[in-house]
Symmetry: C2
Subunit: 395 residues, 2 copies
């Protein structure tokens, strides 16, 4: 497949979108697909839609499509809830696999919500658990025999720094810990091989590189040999072995189905299922190769033309995900000026200008045009204008 595949997206005219790491753009056909579910399925079948229209199978069916992009076999991934809930579900199940240990190890590069969910889980268990947070570089050394679960986001949301999934998983497992990966900035961005890594569990979201739309559901993977033994503490009826038997007590379902909780978000899943068609015929190897061409070029152009900025991402492409971040003290205002000119990146405190590279809908011409605009903003000190300095909400 020759990338990009811009014609698979409805991209706004005149916008260079470097924020697919926050929310992917609208794939073609999503509107029609959702419309069809609303009018022809819900509107016409009503309650019968659960059977007639295969809504009940949607979480596993879409999960298998996501699985292909992250090296997970069919039937090992299921969709549902939000990433924060799936983190809670994975880590709580993981702790139960190591009842004699009390430490959840994570790093300062993890997305805060993952840390918050672990905090909440520890407070809820109220049994001497500890969330130990180290610097990303110190993770391997910090994995000792106290650690029950290593919980990491593979690609750092601020800098794009990427863990070595296979190596960290090995280290964790050699120390007897359970490995849980958050693939929020990995799925659809970099090559992931969950099976090869041997990790026990993984979770991720689908509104970033998978273009599922705002509020698209999360996914969870459990290693197939383990799935029938993990305990889903968020034991909702749709994870029950026989949800419609309405038993009074919980019996977990077979396979990954047990990680379902409540009623699936049919409309969001319909949007996502259509969005997944943009990956038809695409391999993650070619996406990754194209992504590195874009990000390497971006770094080279920025460093050649925008000396005000300092690279915060790893220079070694192999240690970097699909985004590039530069530090700049006036980064917030500079980003607002860029956005006003149609180059959409985002800003993370305190000084991070973040740019995501998504080769499904970006090419080298876009990269060069984006740097042209960036250079202009910097050279003309547009970040000094009051309208860009006013701090609004930052999503």
């Amino acid at each position: 497949m020759t990338l990009p595949l811009k014609d698979r997206f409805d991209l706004p005219e005149g916008m260079i979108y470097l924020d697919g790491n926050s929310l992917g753009p609208l794939p073609k056909g999503v509107g029609a697909a959702v419309q069809s579910v609303i009018a022809k399925e819900w509107g016409a079948h009503l309650i019968k839609g659960w059977n007639d229209c295969d809504w009940m199978d949607q979480p596993a069916r879409v999960g298998t499509r996501v699985g292909r992009l992250i090296g997970a076999p069919a039937g090992s991934v299921v969709m549902g809830d939000t990433l924060s809930i799936k983190v809670f579900q994975a880590v709580s199940a993981a702790l139960a696999l190591r009842p004699d240990r009390r430490v959840i190890l994570s790093d300062s590069g993890n997305f805060p919500s993952d840390l918050y969910m672990a905090e909440g889980l520890i407070a809820l268990k109220d049994a001497g658990y500890e969330l130990r947070i180290v610097e990303p570089e110190a993770v391997a050394d910090a994995i000792d025999r106290e650690v029950a679960v290593v919980m990491l986001t593979e690609v750092d949301y601020r800098t794009g720094r990427m863990h070595d999934m296979a190596a960290v998983t090995d280290t964790a497992q050699n120390a007897g810990a359970v490995m849980v990966w958050d693939l929020a900035h990995s799925a659809g961005a970099v090559e992931v091989d969950l099976t090869a890594s041997g990790c026990e569990m993984a979770v991720g979201c689908t509104y970033k590189y998978l273009n599922g739309g705002p509020g698209a559901p999360a996914f969870i993977y459990v290693r197939p040999d383990l799935v029938d033994t993990v305990t889903p503490f968020l034991s909702g009826w749709l994870g029950h072995a026989a949800p419609f038997a309405f038993d009074r007590s919980y019996t977990p379902g077979k396979g990954i189905e047990r990680m379902r909780v409540g009623t699936p978000p049919v409309l969001q899943l319909a949007a996502l299922e259509q969005a997944m068609t943009v990956w038809d015929g695409v391999t993650m190897a070619e996406v990754r190769a194209a992504s590195l061409i874009l990000s390497e070029r971006f770094i080279a152009e920025v460093e050649a033309r925008c000396s005000q900025l300092t690279l915060l991402s790893p220079r070694d492409a192999a240690r970097r995900g699909s985004q590039v971040s530069f530090g700049f003290d006036n980064g917030y205002a500079a980003m607002q000026a860029l956005i006003a000119r149609g180059v959409i990146g985002d800003f993370r405190a305190p000084n991070v200008m973040r740019f995501g590279f998504t080769p499904l809908y970006l090419d080298v011409g876009d990269v060069i045009a984006a740097v042209d605009t960036l250079q202009d903003v910097l050279d003309r000190r547009l970040w000094d204008k009051p309208e860009y300095r006013a701090v609004g909400r930052v999503t």
Copy 2:
């Protein structure tokens, strides 16, 4: 307002829909509203939609609309997740309010998922908690000083039997227990006054009587005087006091916002927000009055004409929600025969034929026509036909 308001819905021609207690029908305008969010908001604003299109405020904004129907003040209800997750969130927070007690009291009329979530919570806490399940009639007597939380669904999903919310809440609170109500079969069906009841927390779903569509998000209410002290153990970033500060540790947000967890399902919320407009100008008092006219008439007609069926719902209208259930040993097949003839109710094991009455889109003529069909199915013993006896999936 004169009910019904059939023109506010897109109802299939020739169908009498008595299953709004499972999944409400499609309100007019939902397709267009969702389409607009997809094409004009997501498609055009992309990441900027979070600010430009007020997606971030949607959970509380829609929550306030739901709150009006359940006697909850503006700002005390927020949308998100699924009902099962919200049950977990409410009960876990409630337990923390009574740290010296170890019993969650519920009843056999509760929806199984609520019981399963409590089971999972107890297993997760692993600290001697107990889920005590009694018969619905025995709840009041079972509330003693061991009970930390009373967790009940107001209206029984099988029979429509309704608890006396005010009285049970009083009994619970007099014994020092925290009261959590599940309003799945109440919100939009019966008059609920959360404020008057004084209950600490309530949860519910929006795909039944609130017509939010398959997978519509749940809601949670916390009594305003308590909300700033409850602990959200599902402590996701959007419940944080400053989500975009990306602090490393969790600080709960102000008010009901702390009960948010992850990224809200924007498309589902857009559908729900539009669906809530069917309640414009409608009071729950008139809905309840109309609902009782329908259900009383249904009971009278069935009992006069269908002697094969036995009323399972309370005969006293004041003790019954907005549904009526009849017992019939061949109920599964009889319901399939009814459905094949365009009268949509549903079946719950072992013998429950369930009919929901929703005066927004049903009138007495529908009730009589439904009973005509039911009588025909029974008199002609159509439930004996093999095509109706084959057991498929029951949703």
